[in-house]
């Protein structure tokens, strides 16, 4: 019980610290948030009026105290830019990021793990070199450039995938928004054409994001597998005459899966933070784009709310991976 209470306290302090740092950074940036609302043409009096409406005329500690108090009540405030409650805005943009990140991690882990295993088994051979080159490109190529090139080739030239946005505008009001996840909503609506459109729109950005995860996951898988394949239990298994496939996939990978779980979880959390550049290139209305635009416009409620969600996601996934870690490896209990 004490352990649980300590965990909750630690989470609350982490969230408070996150808010405090973001709040302070937002306030020291030499940008006037009132300008975002009142605009360039506003008179001094109009700006003062807006500052008062936003509570910016209050001392910093009071502004922060009021904000934390309203967060504690579940109110993240209203966005300056959209005029909506931030919770409502995040409820709209987060599913887009969640869907993109999930497709990305499925792609990244689905291909990255086998590639990493293959590279470890054929260490020094061409699969290993391929994995190294893919990893190098994944680490070093700018995502913005890859996104544009991908669109140019697969969308504009070959026509294999849909363009920017989440679905063709023809389906704008034919699919009822139930979960905010377009693939799921189109399935629930039983509309195969709409599903195909949504799928063709997410395929490229999902694959692109997944590629960056793939680069990381495959390299880490290779490293974990090399360690496992040189273990004594593998030598013993070979001596017992087990097939190589069984040794690799049933024994070595099973043990490598424990640390790999953390790698995949952290990759997923990274994708869920919202990949700003991918969302920008693909006009994907997700959390990354929302926070970035809010930051550029000094829309602090939106920035703080978005940051809080990102922090919560990160903490949540970390916790989940810890739990799974313990479940998969009883020695850690």
């Amino acid at each position: 019980m004490m352990k649980f209470a300590r965990l909750i306290l630690s989470l609350l302090l982490t969230a408070l610290g996150l808010l405090a740092v973001t709040f302070l950074i937002g306030r020291v940036v030499p940008t006037d948030p009132a300008l975002s609302v009142a605009g360039d043409r506003a008179t001094r009096e109009q700006l003062e009026q807006v500052r008062k409406e936003l509570g910016l005329d209050k001392p910093l500690y009071e502004q922060f105290g009021r904000y934390v108090a309203s967060v504690a009540r579940g109110d993240l405030g209203d966005s300056l830019l959209t005029g909506n409650p931030v919770t409502q805005d995040i409820g709209r943009v987060f599913p887009a990021t969640l869907e993109l990140a999930t497709v990305g991690i499925l792609f990244g882990a689905g291909l990255g793990i086998p590639l990493g295993v293959w590279a470890a088994v054929r260490r020094g051979g061409w699969p290993d070199q391929l994995s190294r080159v893919l990893g190098l490109v994944g680490y070093s190529a700018p995502i913005f450039w890859l996104g544009l090139m991908g669109l140019l080739l697969f969308y504009a030239e070959l026509g294999w995938v849909g363009g920017p946005g989440r679905i063709n505008v023809g389906f704008l009001y034919t699919v009822p928004p139930r979960t905010g996840l377009m693939l799921v909503d189109t399935v629930l609506a039983g509309d195969a054409d709409a599903f195909a459109s949504a799928f063709s729109h997410i395929a490229l950005p999902g694959a692109l994001l997944g590629y960056f995860s793939l680069a990381y996951i495959s390299r880490m898988t290779r490293s974990f597998m090399l360690k496992e394949l040189s273990s004594e239990y593998v030598v013993a298994a070979r001596a017992k005459g087990l097939s190589e496939q069984r040794i690799i996939w049933r024994h070595a990978l099973r043990n490598a899966a424990v640390p790999l779980l953390t790698v995949v979880a952290l990759s997923y959390a990274g994708l869920l933070e919202g990949s700003v550049l991918t969302e920008t290139v693909f006009s994907w209305p997700g959390l990354g784009q929302y926070i970035t635009h809010a930051l550029q416009s000094a829309d602090m409620n939106a920035v703080l709310g978005g940051t809080l969600v990102v922090g919560a996601v990160f903490i949540g996934i970390n916790l989940l991976s810890d739990v799974l870690y313990r479940w998969m490896d009883p020695r850690t209990k």
Binding site: D40, L111, A156, G165, A203
Partner: protein
């Protein structure tokens, strides 16, 4: 990635629905659709299509005015009272008939709310305390408007043609509240707002009760696409019908495509560089003039601004009353050097320049940096995002600033009032005109600007602005670089799209599509 896509690649459904116009456009600037509050470029286009005003200007000759909701009007001999008669039978999207009470309510509301665009109306002498007395319904279809001074009639009517003068459905707004109007509409124009998802999409549906020529399309979608290159690709694939924010390189790439037509119209926006007069170096008249000879205006127009702006050296854009075509300056480094020598600065000097990290402004600043270096002036560029540079600019903390300015309404006073008016140059002044931001103290020019506002004779008024611009070119700390153009790439099956010189005059009702 390439290995994975063929299985993922289901046929992408291109081409937009027949009954819908889909425009790729940057709409993330939009913060309100309420005409009393909306002052953004994208919002202007939506408000312009959803609402009607009393007056509009003729797109064929923007200096000519005509009634929109107003059937006619008279002006009292003292020039301070305007009596409008409304057209009968105009209807809101709600089905209610537009009457003079709606017009009075709308104008009073805009003043009372005191949002940024309200200054367009309050400069007529209206304020929270008097607007109910100055703007009154004098009959079911009659409106009486009083102004505090005998302003030029063209000025008063031009102000009423601005988006802030849009007429809202009085009853609907009373029922739903002011906040509701930020995301919805209550207009009598050809379209009505169906949905706005911030940073994603704005959807307008045909207003079934519109009393003018009905649009042939049922819906207009503004799809938020920020990147010019993305807009081009989507246009080429047929995923959008119109691309609205094309950069010069994308305009070039589309120029030869047989499926795409390019359309362009000069608009009321200017690119300019300004010199803060608080800096003693920049306050020297010779230095101000030297900078004007350190710009290759033609090269800018032919390269960085190709297709999106053309060289222009005056504060009034072409199309506005009194606009001037005079372009005395060109790149002349030796002349600039001679002026610097005369100013006691033969070896040049070092100075900073605040630059927003966005194109084409950033590239223009870099080009200017190189031209100035040829005369020995070392410019250090201080990059920042738009709000940061604007905050410094409004606080008069910059040395040199490069920016844009768009006419707020279609009257020469809008730009004269900011470029050549600075009645109070103190740091605590209420108004932040561009002349004030650059600490340009100009009591005489400010007085002449005010005088031009009261000139009832249109020809004399135009001459007054010509004269102000001549003084401006010679004396000001502003280097006007170019006048912006409104451009669009349009698929050939789209007919009737005509861009206007202001964001609220790109009317979409006449647009139709063929197969």
């Amino acid at each position: 990635m390439a290995l994975a896509l063929p299985w993922a690649g289901l046929p992408a459904q291109a081409l937009t629905p027949r009954n819908t116009l889909v425009q790729a456009m940057a709409v993330d600037d939009l913060i309100s659709l309420d005409p009393a509050e909306c002052f953004e470029i994208s919002g202007g286009e939506m408000v312009g299509n959803v609402y009607e005003r009393l007056i509009e200007f003729d797109l064929d000759d923007p200096s000519r005015l005509r009634g929109m909701l107003a059937e006619g009007w008279t002006i009292s001999p003292d020039g301070r009272t305007y009596d409008f008669t409304l057209r009968p039978g105009r209807k809101f999207a709600s089905g209610r008939t537009v009457n003079a009470g709606d017009v009075a309510f709308s104008l009073q509301r805009a003043v009372r709310l005191n949002k940024t665009p309200s200054f367009i109306l309050t400069q007529l002498g209206w304020n929270n305390a008097n607007v109910e007395r100055m703007v009154v319904q004098s009959g079911p279809m009659n409106l009486r408007v009083e102004v505090d001074k005998p302003y030029a009639p063209s000025f008063v009517l031009n102000c009423l043609s601005a988006t802030v003068g849009s007429v809202v459905d009085w009853r609907l707004v009373q029922e739903r509240g002011d906040g509701w109007l930020r995301r919805n509409s209550a207009g009598s124009g050809p379209w009505a707002v169906r949905e706005w998802r911030a940073g994603e999409i704005v959807v307008l549906d045909r207003n079934p009760n519109y009393t003018g020529a009905k649009p042939s399309l049922e819906r207009v979608i503004f799809s938020h696409v920020k990147e010019s290159s993305m807009q081009r690709l989507m246009l080429l694939r047929g995923d959008v019908d119109v691309a609205r924010n094309l950069a010069p390189q994308d305009l070039d790439a589309l120029a030869g495509d047989r499926n795409i037509a390019l359309t362009s119209v000069p608009k009321g926006g200017l690119y300019y560089i300004s010199l803060n007069q608080k800096n003693p170096l920049l306050a020297k008249p010779e230095v101000r003039e030297a900078f004007k000879w350190l710009v290759d205006y033609d090269a800018l127009g032919a390269t960085l601004l190709k297709g999106i702006a053309r060289p222009h050296q005056n504060f009034l854009p072409q199309g506005l009353l009194g606009a001037s075509n005079e372009s005395p300056f060109k790149l002349d480094v030796s002349r600039a050097k001679a002026l610097l020598t005369k100013a006691g600065l033969p070896d040049g000097f070092k100075i900073t320049m605040d630059v927003r990290s966005a194109q084409p402004v950033q590239s223009m600043a870099e080009a200017f940096q190189q031209w100035a270096a040829r005369a020995g002036i070392q410019i250090e560029i201080l990059p920042g995002d738009g709000k940061q540079t604007l905050t410094r600019y409004r606080a008069r903390k910059h040395d040199i600033y490069i920016g844009e300015w768009a006419a707020d309404y279609w009257d020469p006073h809008t730009n004269a009032d900011t470029f050549v008016s600075n009645p109070d140059n103190s740091d605590g002044a209420s108004r932040s005109t561009l002349a004030w931001r650059n600490a340009w103290s100009i009591p005489e020019l400010s007085r002449l600007t005010s005088a031009a506002l009261l000139e009832p004779d249109t020809a004399k008024r135009a001459a007054a602005y010509q004269s102000l611009q001549a003084r401006f070119r010679a004396e000001s700390p502003f280097i006007i670089l170019a006048q912006q153009a409104q451009v669009a790439g349009v698929r050939r099956n789209v007919r009737g799209l005509r861009l206007g010189p202001t964001s609220d005059t790109s009317f979409l009702a006449p647009v139709s599509k063929t197969s």
